[in-house]
Symmetry: C2
Subunit: 440 residues, 2 copies
């Protein structure tokens, strides 16, 4: 019987050249985060469906790969769907058929993990997770239905020490992977809320305002103004909102966008404009993050205050941040503070803050740059003629083993008839040295 | 809403202490196999259901976690199951509902991968896979429904160079993880078949004979004799079969079981007894494996010929091997030659041979031994008093960053009121040095 050669729709096989870079990045990431005291953990790829559909996952909840129940449970579920189908018109619900699904992110499982093992974990708990997640997105170039996420989270640290550590750990890692001249863009949900409140938007419709704001880099300020009005917000609020951003430009004029000075002026301006509508700690707290990160950073990047950053997930409660790479117009990772989420599992509020590297995008960039992994061992191929006598063969294998113990990479292969072609192929695989062994 | 804290049935959360050992083992395994020229690859965790149920997976095919179809495909499948349910008594088939499932091993996906990418891969192709697999087994102690497998395979190498390399790579890795005094037990399916043929068992019922032989260490030779007769085999065949094993004991008497000498005598004996019923290359080929492995091995282990090893999977065609650890009465991994399997995808026969380390068992042993990971960096905790002035905080963070760049592991934590207790807890997490920073 001929079988299906292709991987399942939307998922990919990883070829050796990419895998070498992935393995290398994983090792650097794990090593670097360990230096910051992050502890590596893992949760099952299958998660309780109830947890996955608890409204913490936003649109991802629509993209879950569900696992079919088994045995008697499945039979009774099938009987139920059959009864439902008989009694009604329209779509048949698949809900009875599944109670587990593949995780679509690492945040929901982390919060469940923390709530299950709280007593066995240090506090604050600094976690590193590298693992696959699955989303049944429409397949498109460079976007797959299985992909790796790389998250660090600090649970139980209410102060901005969490943000400072997350930003330094993430940027140090990116620096060690050879990335330069990138930006970490930071904002705070409390600033977003205060700006909306200062303009008279109703608090309960803030999320709608933010969704429109999030498009500013695409539709411009006029577009934001228009869409706010179209959404039925007061014209005056919309105008004041856009005027706030215009004012921001005004005070920052003359400073380089993205520079430290630019960020400092913007923070000063908002502190003045939002006085009375924003918590007293928010802007000084953000300034402290700037001060510490800039004093300690080892990678080549700029921390930038960007009051237009929104980030999609509704669970964020405080700071939010994104990685912007000059190589790509898009975000290469991000995160933020989500102080309310742990409480949904444990019933008691525990602060939490996380930062995720867009692992697949990082890999894509490195592959496009033909990244050369530093410190690779010398690669030698031993070409062994066929029908090598046993005694001689064991001598060759012993020699190879000794070279490996000395740190060399040695490939043993049977010599082909077309030795020249074989060597060319081996060269293409990175073998620089060849030794030939003949039977006689 | 309170959510479910426990992981899904039969799967486990991995706590930091175990994860540290797992990460370390993965790094040693990847590094060592790379020295042997194995290339790391990855396939999606979800595999075509058709491939998973192609009779290459033995009993594992009954344990598949199936993924529910989505959208319109799901609706039409649900309608079909509803029609089936209406028209019949008894169990409703779930077959229409799913076309993908979680992989239950790494061999089926490897063969699919090779057949899909043959033109992009070197030949012979030496692959390393480390990845999770899923089996809906009845949960029991130490056995989980998600677990990691660690396989190396050589596709396209017909000679026993494949077996020699697989055994050396696997044992070198185990040696570097601190394992000593273990055994690699080896046999060949062709020997098993020749022994059965020599005793007059019908060729088409060989697998039944092997299943009974596989129990010899539990039921003894009398048990094997009895079960063979109960299964309806000729009494004479059964008696000759057991007599072959008795004869083996006879010639090996005086040599240490498991010693090189013991294996050599057993091979000589079978070469004599099976002359004419076994391929001429089989026993010399096995002797060559012994000679090369023993000449080159760097780990502390013995290669043992064991004609009672069967291994469950029916796809094996030649050599079969198992890792036996003194710490456990059971196998800690194994593998063998499966020359026929690639042809089922590609239509042309390609030789293949693989060896798998029982990763989860290895981890279990290391955890039970309280394994200490060598070469870990020094671990220092900085205790920072609350309300540290910004300026001073940024200096502390800078100091931490410099220590990390120098290879140290530094944890920054807010100082608790009960500093003594906090330090005790940090000591338990492996922090040996403490620095205290006060606001004034």
């Amino acid at each position: 019987m001929a079988l299906t050669k292709k991987p399942v729709t939307g998922m990919k096989d990883i070829l050796p050249a990419e895998m070498e870079i992935r393995d290398y990045c994983i090792s650097i990431i794990k090593k670097t985060y360990a230096e910051f005291g992050f502890l590596s953990i893992e949760t099952p790829c299958v998660e309780n469906l109830e947890n996955l559909t608890s409204k913490s996952g936003g649109d991802n909840e629509k993209l879950i790969f569900k696992i079919l129940k088994r045995g008697e449970k499945l039979q009774s579920a099938l009987a139920q769907t059959a009864r439902d189908a008989a009694g009604q018109e329209g779509a048949i619900s698949d809900l009875p058929l599944s109670d587990g699904g593949l995780r679509y992110d690492l945040t929901v499982p982390l919060v469940r993990y923390f709530s299950a093992h709280e007593n066995e974990l240090p506090m604050p708990f600094k976690a590193l997770q590298m693992g696959n997640v699955w989303r049944a997105d429409r397949p498109q170039k460079g976007r797959y239905r299985q992909f790796m996420q790389c998250d660090i989270d600090i649970i139980g640290e209410a102060t901005n020490l969490a943000e400072i550590e997350l930003i330094l750990a993430t940027t140090t890692t990116l620096g060690r992977l050879g990335f330069k001249g990138f930006q970490i863009r930071i904002n705070d949900r409390q600033i977003l809320k205060a700006m909306a409140a200062a303009c008279g938007f109703p608090a309960e419709r803030c999320d709608e305002v933010f969704i429109i704001l999030d498009k500013m880099d695409k539709i411009g300020r006029d577009g934001v103004l228009r869409e706010l009005e179209e959404a039925g917000f007061a014209k005056e609020s919309a105008q004041r909102y856009v005027a706030l951003f215009d004012g921001l430009d005004e005070v920052c004029r003359g400073t380089e966008p993205g520079s430290e000075e630019h960020s400092a002026k913007a923070l000063d301006y908002l502190e003045k404009e939002l006085a009375g509508v924003i918590g007293e700690d928010v802007l000084p707290g953000l300034r402290e993050i700037f001060q510490s990160v800039n004093a300690a950073k080892s990678a080549d990047f700029v921390l930038v205050f960007d009051p237009t950053i929104v980030r999609g997930m509704s669970y964020y409660t405080g700071t939010i941040f994104e990685i912007a790479m000059p190589e790509l117009g898009i975000s290469c990772g991000g995160g933020g503070r989500y102080d309310g989420m742990v409480g949904r599992f444990t019933g008691k509020d525990v602060p939490a803050c996380g930062f995720s590297i867009g692992f697949e995008r990082i890999i894509l960039i490195l592959l496009e740059q033909n990244y050369v992994i530093p410190g690779q061992p010398a690669k030698t191929a031993y070409l062994i003629e066929k029908n090598m006598p046993s005694e001689k063969l064991s001598g060759i294998i012993r020699q190879a083993q000794q070279a490996r113990e000395a740190g060399e990479q040695v490939l043993l292969v049977r010599m082909n008839k077309n030795k020249k072609f074989q060597k060319e192929q081996l060269s293409a695989q990175g073998y620089e040295k060849f030794e030939e062994f003949y039977a006689q």
